[in-house]
Amino acid sequence: MNHKAVISATALAAAMTFSTASHAGATLDAVKEKGHVQCGVTTGLAGFSQSNDKGVWTGIDVDMCRAVAAAVFGDAGKVKFTPLTAKERFTALQSGEIDMLSRNTTWTLTRDSNLGLNFAGVNYYDGQGFLVSKDLGVKSATELDGAAICIQAGTTTELNLADYFRSKGMKYTPITFDRSEETIKAFEAGRCDVLTSDQSQLYALRIQLAKPESAIVLPEVVSKEPLGPVVRNGDEDWFKIVRWSLSAMLNAEELGISSANIDDLKESSTNPNVRRLIGLEGIKGQGLGLPDDWAYSIVKQVGNYSEVFERNVGKGSALGISRGLNALWADGGIQYAPPIR
């Protein structure tokens, strides 16, 4: 809730006030000492991070955290989640409340340069879209002049929306909520004509409606939203661990390594690329300060990028989103990871 944001911000002020400088690698040491990765996620967004009635978190962002835990500890279960609203997320990371933020967060210049944050990569390429009720009879976003629009506070969505309507010379009424639950409730209650968010979120929110078929997602995508894990500035060692955890999953998909076949490949593969990823030869985890089998643990316990995608947001999930931009570069998408060698 909102008061938590204020508490986080106050905590940040306090942290900035009293803390002394930290050395590089401090985050990894601290994580190892406490025995788990503290990861900031959403308060509940299907496909990205959501907890079930037993408190088990699932989602593409959650798997990103679990991959880092697998790389550090060899155990994907050694991760604790902090649910955060869009407004709270950066403060929680800046103040050291969490070790990494994996909360469908858009990589922008302001955030990268002004907030003391580092984006470790892109685990989902998204774009902003519009969800409207079918009764409205709207076919395109250009017909939305004068509409009341529900938004979540503290997102790039708020700015993109303003830019889009300004560039088209159209008027709108923004109704801004803290959490996506309230946003979708207000949309359902008819407070607004349109709900705007990243397209992946719109599909996730749509299946939460009482009648999902009563609403449609308009074809327009009005912005670029590269979403990815974020860490604090000033600790490059930790930054690299998060970045290479993501790269390991992408490389595994590219090399055809999955959680199902990795043990067989470990025994039989003669492909040097595969053997390097599994940690049988090459530099292994040495430079990252990780065990030799760090990438093996990620793929074995969490899966490669394709498994993670399909399980959470793709064919194997209720959302059924196709890979699109998120396909590997070799398959016509733009997901591309530097090689492990």
């Binding site: 809730m1 909102n2 008061h3 944001a5 204020v6 911000a9 106050t10 940040l12 002020a13 942290a15 900035m16 006030t17 009293f18 803390s19 002394t20 400088a21 869009a86 407004k87 950066f90 403060t91 800046q94 302001t110 955030r111 340069s113 002004n114 907030l115 003391g116 409205l136 939305l144 002049d145 004068g146 509409a147 009341a148 506070a153 503290g154 997102t155 708020e158 700015l159 929306l161 303003a162 830019d163 309507f165 300004r166 709108y172 009424t173 923004p174 109704i175 801004t176 909520f177 803290d178 309230e182 409730k185 207000a186 209650a189 008819g190 407070r191 004509d193 604090r232 500035n233 000033g234």
Partner: protein, 395 residues
């Protein structure tokens, strides 16, 4: 001889044995320590922020905000600055606090008096009201009013229509907006004159009653003056007031004034919740006035209503006002729960969206805290002044 006298004076004690000087020295040391502590905090904060690559300073207030705000009392759109979003949020907070204090006070006094009513039903209803609303967390009440009311309201195209001027739908209550022509100034002047006339009339009536004992129908005569003078001015200057009616264009109504459901829900919840506390304060204030006062008033032949107005309430006010102050402060601070239902108050707009878009947490939280501190101190000052005015004047 003066010289001799001086020789016999005891020599001045050393500094540490002189209690006055010693106290002064300690105070200077404490003050210096406090200053040094805050200077350390300040420089350390700046240093750490810089080290983490978080920019500092208040320059961000001049940057373009780039996001829209649902409701603004002053002109605002995306092209205004972050500094402007501060003002927009501040005014929205002041609006809901001001209206909330007035509504809560009126409602609280009515319920408080009703609780002491001799009518069993009225007294019980007031008791149930107090016990219900006082004991449910405010945040839940705000969410309840918002999400319980919204689905009941129709879509803009099926609005509830009152004589083509007022429309009620899920986007709010649409009212005609007054458009003033320049000649309307005369109507305002007439109203001002009427108010002064009423003040003099009331004074004169008091004096006359004190001198002759004859009552005067002050209320009705005042009302007549207040209505007639501006009305005459309005007609004479040629009715210089137009109404901008809301009309359905596209999805929503354009023109007119809107009371948004977020404001209504927040205001309702704040007033109803705080009124429950005020009612108890009013009850305790009235019960603090000894029953002998009532009996004395009845013995003098005053009716129950006059007794309440002239004898009980003025004495009860001395107990009520100091406690009322803290309820007003609570209401103002509680208005920061607005973000839950999307009402754009200071915390939602400035300590929320603006903080997130700029990342200047330390500066923004500092400014926001200062605003609430200032508002609270101002309310306290005003209420203390009012309390002194109402306090028992001892002769």
């Amino acid at each position: 001889m003066p010289m001799d006298n001086q020789d016999q004076m005891p020599s001045r004690p050393p500094l540490w044995n002189d209690p006055d000087k010693r106290a002064l020295i300690f105070q200077v040391i404490v003050l210096a320590a406090v200053f040094a502590f805050f200077a350390y905090i300040f420089s350390n904060t700046l240093h750490n922020l810089e080290k983490r690559g978080i920019s500092t300073g208040f320059d961000f207030l001049n940057n373009e905000a780039g996001f829209g705000i649902l409701m603004s009392l002053i002109p605002y759109d995306e092209t205004y600055t972050f500094g402007r979003t501060f003002l927009v949020g501040l005014l929205n907070t002041l609006l809901v606090s001001f209206l909330g204090i007035i509504l809560a006070t009126i409602l609280g006094f009515i319920i408080g008096v009703a609780r002491l009513s001799n009518n069993w039903l009225i007294a019980k209803i007031a008791t149930v009201y107090i016990e219900t609303f006082r004991n449910i967390p405010l945040l839940l009440q705000i969410l309840f009013w918002y999400f319980a009311m919204l689905p009941l309201l129709p879509h803009p195209r099926q609005s509830v229509n009152f004589s083509d001027a007022f429309f009620l739908n899920s986007r709010g209550l649409y009212l005609p907006a007054p458009v003033f022509e320049s000649a309307f100034l005369w109507v305002l002047i007439a109203l001002f004159v009427a108010i002064i006339a009423v003040v003099f009339l009331v004074r004169w009536a008091h004096k006359r009653q004190a001198a002759t004992g004859q009552p005067f129908h002050t209320f009705w005569v005042s009302l007549a003056i207040l209505v007639t003078l501006p009305a005459v001015a309005y007609v004479v200057t040629g009715m210089p007031l137009n109404w901008n009616l809301p009309e359905l264009k596209g999805f929503n109504f354009r023109g007119g004034m809107t009371i948004i459901p977020e404001l209504a829900a927040l205001l309702l919840a704040l007033s109803i919740y705080t009124a429950a506390f005020i009612a108890e304060i009013v009850r305790s204030g009235i019960q603090a006035v000894s029953h002998g006062q009532t009996e004395a008033a009845y013995a003098l032949g005053l009716r129950p209503a006059k007794t309440l107005q002239l004898v009980i309430i003025p004495q009860a006010m001395r107990v009520i006002i100091p406690q009322l102050t803290s309820q007003y402060l609570n209401l103002t601070k509680n208005s920061s729960l607005a973000a839950a239902v999307g009402y754009p108050d200071l915390v939602a707009v400035f300590a929320g969206t603006t903080l997130n878009q700029t990342g200047q947490a330390v500066e923004i939280i500092f400014m926001t805290m200062m605003v609430y501190l200032t508002i609270s101190l101002l309310i306290s000052l005003f209420m203390n002044w009012y309390n002194n005015k109402m306090a028992l004047v001892e002769r």
